[in-house]
């Protein structure tokens, strides 16, 4: 393993596509309570947050608090709306994120 997964001395455990996205993707299995460093793919920015739930590889983490009904942003685009209150560091998936296009 090269040193690239690290920003400074901290391992990057999640990636976000664009600055302003409300979610990032875990690039390894993460546990509740972990301090997670998130790197942005479109810049050299990074952010750190504490996980409020387990998040498996490939699943999303809220980067900020999201109110019920609010748009959820990834790739700089709307991927759906929050169907429940979501707080930063929480797992974001089908239990709290719904499609705006095919929802019933």
């Amino acid at each position: 393993m090269s040193a690239r997964p690290y920003v400074g001395m901290i391992r990057v455990s999640a990636l976000a596509h664009k600055l302003g996205d409300s979610v990032a993707v875990a690039v390894e299995d993460l546990k509740k309570g972990d301090t997670v460093t998130v790197a942005y793919l479109d810049s050299s920015s990074e952010t750190t947050l504490i996980l409020k739930s387990d998040v498996p590889l490939g699943h999303k983490i809220a980067l900020k608090d999201i109110k019920t009904g609010e748009d959820v942003i990834e790739y700089g685009h709307v991927i759906g709306y929050a169907s429940a209150e979501i707080s930063a560091g929480e797992h974001v998936h089908v239990h709290n994120l719904k499609s705006k296009r095919w929802s019933n």
Partner: protein, 385 residues
């Protein structure tokens, strides 16, 4: 890296260039599957393509069905074709169309029975295999080729890693003058504006939007929750939550070049470059259509690990999921999981895919070919009469 644009391929009678040299046994209908499979068991070096359709279809559905069988036979990856049907008329119709591109022979079962048909077809198939074995690969340019792209059992790693890397390869192929087909109409939902804004001209843009809206309406008209179907259960297990998220990951593989044409089911490409084809998002259905429109190699990005192949078209599997590339290593041709932990750059990942493509074009077998994945699934538009 200096890119190779010369490849070794087989030129067919119609001038098209393929990268495989198959003798196919095509059943015109479900009733002829047994005879077609029997021929493929008697004559080594043939591939039978059984399927469940071909009786009492009508209208646009029948047109698409014929187009799919004819496209399979005419594809330049095929050296020669045996066509077997229950009766002569439809059998001859399919065979006559294929015959403009390569040696083709038709056989029908009525008035002969399976056994005599299998014997006659096997004698011809034996000739065809020996004919095909005399053909040799010659130098051709990548610009002569049509390739296709589609992802399956996607997850968020597809949008982070495999798809953007493939997008760079697609840009390179377009720059080199090749044609690349993409589709997955319903899986553009949420990213359709990004796609429509890339069409070179308004006529094709409008045509794309019309196709897209029609497809969406069919899906919405069922009035059901699609969660589990689209996104699939595999997508959801991999972290994808909505169709919009899946679509935005999907379009990462389209690169950045203009889209030159929008094709509906019955159209054939008339231009070179990046082309949209109306397809289902189901892997085998989409690959069957891409191949019928002339694709000779397919790039298949996967997150959770789709295993699809095709009877005559090599399918290169690319994954960026660190677990999948280990757990399903025998299915993955190109591992770009280094992107997840930023151990490699997108350009480097694209180089790896490009290199695998050149080797595959020149004859290296893909995982799906070696593992016997020969899925063939014609799309059925509506019920038979």
């Amino acid at each position: 890296m200096v890119q190779l644009t010369e490849i070794w391929g087989y030129e067919r009678d119609d001038g098209k260039v393929g990268v495989r040299n198959h003798v196919v046994i095509i059943p015109v209908d479900d009733l002829s599957n047994a005879a077609a499979v029997a021929v493929s068991q008697v004559v080594r070096g043939t591939v039978a393509v059984p399927h469940p359709y071909g009786r009492l279809q009508f209208g646009r559905d029948l047109d698409l069905y014929f187009d799919t069988l004819i496209g399979l036979g005419k594809n330049p990856n095929v050296a020669a074709a045996i066509v077997i049907g229950i009766e002569p008329k439809w059998t001859q119709r399919v065979a006559d169309e294929i015959a403009s591109s390569k040696p083709t022979e038709a056989f029908w079962i009525e008035k002969s029975g399976d056994l005599r048909t299998v014997e006659k077809a096997s004698r011809k198939a034996k000739e065809f295999v020996q004919y095909a074995s005399e053909l040799t690969r010659k130098k051709h340019d990548i610009s002569e080729l049509t390739l296709s792209i589609k992802c399956g059992e996607s997850d968020t790693t597809s949008g982070l890693a495999a798809n953007p890397a493939l997008g760079i390869v697609v840009d390179r192929l377009i720059d080199e003058g090749a044609t690349v087909l993409f589709g997955e109409t319903s899986e553009l939902t949420g990213a359709e504006d990004l796609v429509s804004s890339r069409f070179l001209d308004d006529d094709n843009r409008k045509k794309f939007l019309k196709i897209f809206n029609e497809y969406s309406n069919i899906i919405k008209s069922e009035g059901v929750d699609l969660l589990g179907s689209q996104p699939t259960e595999g997508n959801i297990a991999g972290g994808l939550s909505t169709i919009e998220e899946k679509a935005l990951g999907n379009v990462q593989k389209l690169g950045t070049k203009p889209i030159v044409e929008a094709l509906d089911y019955l159209d054939r490409p008339t231009k070179k470059g990046l082309i949209f084809l109306n397809t289902s998002s189901a892997a085998a259905e989409a690959l069957t259509l891409f191949n019928a429109k002339g694709s000779i190699l397919h790039f298949f990005t996967t997150g959770q690990g789709n295993v699809v192949g095709h009877p005559t078209m090599p399918v290169i599997k690319i994954s960026g999921n660190t677990k999948t590339v280990q757990e399903m290593s025998e299915h993955i041709d190109v591992d770009v999981s280094g992107l997840l932990h930023r151990e490699i750059t997108l350009e480097k990942a694209a180089d790896t895919i490009y290199d695998a493509m050149i080797k595959t074009l020149n004859g290296r077998l893909t995982a799906a070919e070696v593992l016997g994945h020969v899925e063939f699934s014609p799309v059925k538009l509506y019920v038979s009469a």
